[in-house]
């Protein structure tokens, strides 16, 4: 176990080194979420009346935070698929290192990158008027939720990356999964305006419960629970936590098994 963590850390360190050697990577991973903050804030912000104090940006920021960490799924998958294609994973697998260390290390690296990205986004949000009102403890808890959600999703990314062997396919698959998931939710607009069938989906969508949980933790009323009459929308914190546990319980063992057998 000690060896496994040591080995995973070396792999994680490799990703940090990559960022140090190619700083553009860091710029591009943060520029897109910041761009979303600015676009949504100024394009939609003016015409959406939320009825909440502080305006649309208060509702928007949790949505964009969740959307951004959800894309970890795609970035983990793409990174892994590229390593596989270049033969780097084969090289790692021919070394006497602990089982699973290579993929555990990658999820750690992507999680670290998420911390940085979340910090940059929070700063951008603050600059355009976002103000959490719940105090330091609840705000920290919200970021912990976001961090964990990204981490849980990166394990789906590992399985996708190991299963689809072409990096470009992985990118498309990642977008195909994450775009509908983030838009068929309460992240940018209330679910009450959607057709009935979509409403059901949106209410049970983990992205919605995460967004609602974060809004609550940042000090907003749970409007989602007030308008939608389902258990997840009324208990977003518990539901989100449950989703994360379920995702990790399924995808961590599946991914590790797939990694150990992937070429057989």
């Amino acid at each position: 176990m000690k060896d496994a963590i040591h080995d995973a850390m070396i792999i994680t360190k490799r990703q940090i080194l990559q960022l140090a050697r190619v700083p553009e990577l860091l710029v591009f991973s943060t520029i897109q979420p910041v761009m979303f903050v600015l676009l949504f804030r100024y394009v939609f912000g003016g015409s959406i009346d939320t009825g909440q104090p502080g305006g649309y940006v208060q509702l928007l920021m949790p949505g964009i935070f969740v959307q951004t960490v959800a894309f970890t799924l795609a970035s983990t998958a793409v990174g892994l698929a590229e390593d596989m294609k270049k033969g780097l994973i084969d090289r790692f697998r021919s070394l006497p290192i602990s089982r699973g260390a290579v993929i555990i290390g990658r999820t750690f690296g992507d999680a670290l990158l998420n911390i940085l990205v979340l910090a940059v986004m929070a700063a951008a949000g603050f600059a355009v008027g976002w103000r959490p009102t719940s105090g330091i403890l609840q705000t920290t808890l919200a970021f912990l939720f976001l961090f964990m959600f990204g981490y849980a999703l990166s394990w789906i990314g590992i399985l996708v990356g190991l299963s689809v062997k072409e990096a470009r396919t992985v990118q498309s698959v990642g977008f195909l999964v994450t775009f509908p998931l983030t838009f068929l939710s309460n992240a940018f607009a209330p679910t009450t305006g959607m057709p009935r069938a979509l409403q059901y989906f949106a209410e049970w969508n983990p992205v919605s419960t995460m967004v609602a949980a974060c809004r609550q933790l940042f000090g907003l009323e749970n409007e989602f629970g007030a308008t939608a009459n389902s258990w997840p929308s009324q208990n977003p914190l518990e539901t989100s936590l449950l989703y994360m546990v379920i995702l990790m319980a399924i995808f961590i063992p599946l991914s590790i098994r797939k990694y150990n057998n992937y070429s057989n």
């Binding site: 040591h6 080995d7 792999i11 990559q18 270049k86 033969g87 021919s94 070394l95 006497p96 057989n264």
Partner: protein, 327 residues
């Protein structure tokens, strides 16, 4: 003692549709070099991947350093170094970064990893490029770095899968030199290649494989004798083809191979046979467009061993048609 033994390996892909290995057996004596020679798709990489614990065979068994690769892959990994067809290193990192990372993954301490990286970079003539990202390296430099990465813990057994494929002649020469030095250091080496010349230069023994099985084994001299040593090759106008064929057949005493305008056959006495051929051609008043002796190529080895050339069968007719249409 045998360092590597593979017995009756079978591996199929796509639910048995593609048979990559078909009862392949080979072994490598400790401290020697086995060259595994074969065309693309013959099963070279699959063999290496099984021996290096990256792939499980459908059936058959293999031991490396006396350890069963299927039952104890972890223990095998401690004994081997592997360098594949493509440089499997992190291209965004520098050469130094990569070697230190691999050292750490082999559980060398921080300082030992750094020392080892510096040693290897110097030994492979990469010190100047050490702090540059691998992306900026030439093909030869990448391969050398990749090889260096497989030597971090001084493995007793080394697998090199087509170490020079895609390199320019200079890069190939450098790589050969590096490999020869390694062999002098006593490492047991299994090397795959598409080039007879490479196997000739580096290997003590050669195993020729085709369609997933070993079709011939021996030293390079034995194999060349099997092919028939040098070949006499004469290119003439199509009208003279028949007469030329008779001349070549008489000198060679073996079956000739006739192409569109070229006749070739194995000969035993090299230049003496060539002169005889020239005289005979002159007597018959045939002007050869080209005449010469050819040393056996991999194609010749394959032709003689299998009756088909060492190309993927699908490519062969296409290539011929192209050649024909030019004329």
């Amino acid at each position: 003692m045998k360092s590597v033994i593979a017995e009756h390996l079978v591996k199929t892909y796509r639910n048995g549709e593609v048979k990559a290995l078909n009862d392949l057996s080979l072994d490598v004596e400790e401290g020697t070099v086995l060259g595994v020679l074969g065309p693309n798709g013959a099963g070279k990489t699959t063999t290496v991947r099984i021996l290096a614990t990256l792939l499980k065979p459908d059936s058959g068994s293999a031991t490396v350093a006396g350890i069963d690769v299927i039952k104890h892959p972890d223990k095998v990994r401690e004994q081997i170094g592997l360098s594949g067809q493509y440089a499997a290193v992190d291209e965004t990192l520098t050469g130094w970064d990569n070697l230190v990372m691999f050292g750490r993954l082999y559980h060398l301490g921080r300082q030992s990893s750094i020392d080892r990286a510096n040693d290897l970079l110097e030994r492979f003539d990469l010190t100047e490029a050490a702090r540059r990202p691998i992306k900026t390296y030439s093909g030869g430099m990448r391969r050398r770095l990749d090889l260096a990465a497989s030597l971090i813990v001084k493995p007793k057994i080394l697998f090199l899968d087509e170490p020079t494929t895609g390199l320019d002649p200079r890069g190939r020469q450098d790589m050969w030199q590096v490999i020869q030095e390694l062999v002098k250091g006593g490492v047991t080496l299994l090397l795959t290649t598409q080039y007879l010349e490479e196997a000739d230069q580096l290997a003590d023994e050669i195993a020729v494989i085709d369609r997933g099985t070993v079709i011939a084994r021996g030293t390079s001299d034995t194999l060349k004798k099997q092919v028939g040593g040098e070949r006499l090759e004469i290119t003439v106008e199509p009208a003279d083809l028949d007469k030329t064929n008779q001349i070549v057949a008489k000198i060679s005493g073996h079956a000739t191979h006739v192409d569109l305008r070229t006749v070739s056959a194995p000969v035993l006495h090299g230049s003496k046979d060539l002169m005889e051929a020239l005289r005979a051609m002159d007597d018959a008043k045939i002007h050869p467009l080209d005449i010469g002796l050819k040393r056996p190529s991999l194609d010749d080895v394959f032709l003689s061993l299998t009756g088909h050339v060492a190309e993927e069968t699908v490519q062969e007719p296409v290539a011929k048609r192209k050649r024909g249409s030019k004329r």
